[in-house]
Amino acid sequence: MEITSARFKKVASQKLADPKVQAALANAKGRFVVARARAIKDLDNFEEIRQAAADVRDHCLANLDQYLEEWERKATAAGTIVHWVESAAEMTRVVLEIARSNEVRKVIKSKSMLGEETGMNEYLERGGIDVRETDLGEYIIQQANEHPSHIIAPATHKSKDDIADLFAQKHQRPRLDDITKLTHEAREILRPHFLDADMGITGANFLVAETGSTMIVTNEGNGRMTTTMPRVHVAISSIEKCIPTLEDVSLIMRLLARSATGQSISNYISMTTGPRRQGDSDGPEQFHVIIVDIGRTRVLGSDLRPALRCIRCGACMNHCPVYQNIGGHAYGWVYPGPIGSVLTPAYVGLEKALDLPNAATMCNQCGVACPVKIPLPDLMRKLREKQTQLKLSPASQRAGMGAWAWLASRPFLYGLATKVAVRLGKLAGGKESMLHRLPFAGREWTRGRDLPAPRGRTFREIYAARKKN
């Protein structure tokens, strides 16, 4: 997928000024947060489960090679064909080869962020294959020719009216304005595609090492139909999704849906272990799993490793005040919000997403919501430090911070300079004691608000004068 993170600031301002986007975001804002808060109250030991889940994920990552080997052994024994690839280009090529060698014309797809990452749909379509997204949100996005703005609710930036207009235009049917009716219409349009698709493509929430299975967690029946109806099933997954045991899965499942949508459990959890066996009533004739790296090993060996614990619940973006107000598109790639602000620079390169780690208030509303305790603000700070080391941060900022540290390390000079500054500031504040227009970097502040002026004397001088008396 094209990376447009360099335009973060501009797009964010556009989204803030767009009443339609704002209405859709305002509508979504409280929903997830309230639902999650309610759901975690059911668990009296939520914090312990969170810690245990974080430990499990850390353990997987520390022993990833071993669990991936175990997974491959079990998967192969069950008849799964396993492919290992390093890059996005390699992955999409393998998918197309599988499709071609099986004379596939139509693919039904259930949601996969890795599919977005690699631009798989476009690639397959260029290869002459008809690809149909079957998750409702993804279907909407595909019809609108857009990209997801959220990892679990891809069309969350769209209002019901947007969708009604879109369906009326694309389906060539009378406009509906009832959500249930719109959903039924989409289902009706999609049904024949399920029946005549030759291949199903899914992502994988987890790879279970002890059973050699892939697992998907969904709320719509489409995922299960995609894994069972077509004669070929391809699952794509990145390496860090591997989990040792079913026991571990059940631990993490106590957190995933609660953190994501506030459900105690998702409507469907589908495990696939090999293709259809003799006597099975359904299932594909062939089951391929493509395991990709695309930058994961590099992150695994870096100080950003905790980000790989992510179980893609979306809680960090739902709780992020910045995401809540600008939505996901400004982040400019597949993963928006706090986790995206870490993963995007980590996967595509620091220099292509300079704003992302900086465009956060460090409020840690994400970190306390993350079910696997990823210290997101700390990871963003590490990326900021890297920007400084590589001189990718603005020169004015580096000079400014350097000058501040120089001054603040010299108490006498600092005392003199601040005495002058607060007197000037007080003068500028006038009778109301308010600054309305600041120069330089301060312009960005006073464009949207005032700044209370200094009071004319510093604490240090008042205190020193007091001590003398």
Binding site: A12, S13, R384, S393, G402, G448, R455, T458
Partner: protein, 246 residues
């Protein structure tokens, strides 16, 4: 008990009454209060901007200045959080300082937390006639666990009623350099905070961090609201809510 007061650079420059109020409250507890005269900044601006070197220089200076105190008390969740939760990591690569930083971190308290949980301050000698609403600053709440402490103390102020706002724990959008790098987003978050404040019709917004104060007060005034007072919790508890600064 020797208590060191770290005023913070922002209060030193922008609102000295916060430092004076904190000093008065600490003196009321009967502790021996020291105010190291060379103190400046804890290094947080540099730290969050990715300027590790600049931050380390200031952190080392602070650690040395307060090394003879039993406690360091800070009228700010964000600066106390910097010392308590980040100094050890920041100074980890300087072995001889690291141990001292950890020692200091364990002794660092946000002001209201210290007053309630260490000093056990019972009598609040202050009066405020009106309703207030309290904004939880991000670092105060999520790094320092400050939630009930300021409310407990405020409830002892004569004449004062607390009326909670919706979204008291939601970030106001300050975020240090964030506010001058992403002004539009920052101002929007401040705007939403002002809406929540105004919905309570409280006479004053009270909070424990000057960064949030400058941001929210600046936004309230830009919105044309000149009546809602914006006060630091120390100022209210010390009965220093007028315009006088001495």
């Amino acid at each position: 008990m020797r208590v060191g007061l770290f005023v913070t650079c922002l209060a030193d420059l922008m609102r000295p009454s916060i430092g004076l109020a904190a000093l008065k409250l600490l003196e009321q507890t009967g502790c021996e209060v020291v105010v190291p005269s060379t103190q400046t900044c804890c290094g947080q601006p540099g730290y969050n901007a990715g300027e590790r070197g600049a931050a380390q220089a200031l952190a080392r200076k602070l650690v040395a200045e307060f090394s003879d105190c039993d406690y360091v008390v800070v009228p700010s969740g964000s600066c106390s959080g910097m010392i308590k939760t980040h100094y050890a990591e920041l100074l980890a690569d300087i072995p001889d300082i690291k141990a001292k930083a950890e020692w200091l971190a364990a002794r660092t308290w946000e002001l209201t937390d210290f007053l309630v949980n260490v000093a056990g301050l019972d009598d609040i000698d202050a009066r405020f006639d009106g309703t207030v609403t309290y904004h939880d600053s991000c670092a105060g709440l999520r790094e320092m666990g400050v939630k009930s402490q300021p409310r407990e103390l405020l409830s002892k102020v004569a004449g004062l009623t607390i009326r909670e706002m919706e979204g008291a724990e939601q970030c106001c959008g300050f975020g240090g350099t964030f506010a001058v790098k992403y002004g539009d987003i920052s101002a929007r978050l401040a705007d939403l905070k002002c809406e929540d404040v105004e919905k309570t019709s409280a006479d004053a917004l009270v909070l424990g961090d000057l960064g949030c104060m400058l941001n929210i007060e600046g936004k309230l005034r830009r919105r044309g609201n000149s009546h809602t007072k914006v006060l630091h919790v120390a100022e209210v508890l010390a009965g220093m809510t007028g315009d006088e600064i001495e």
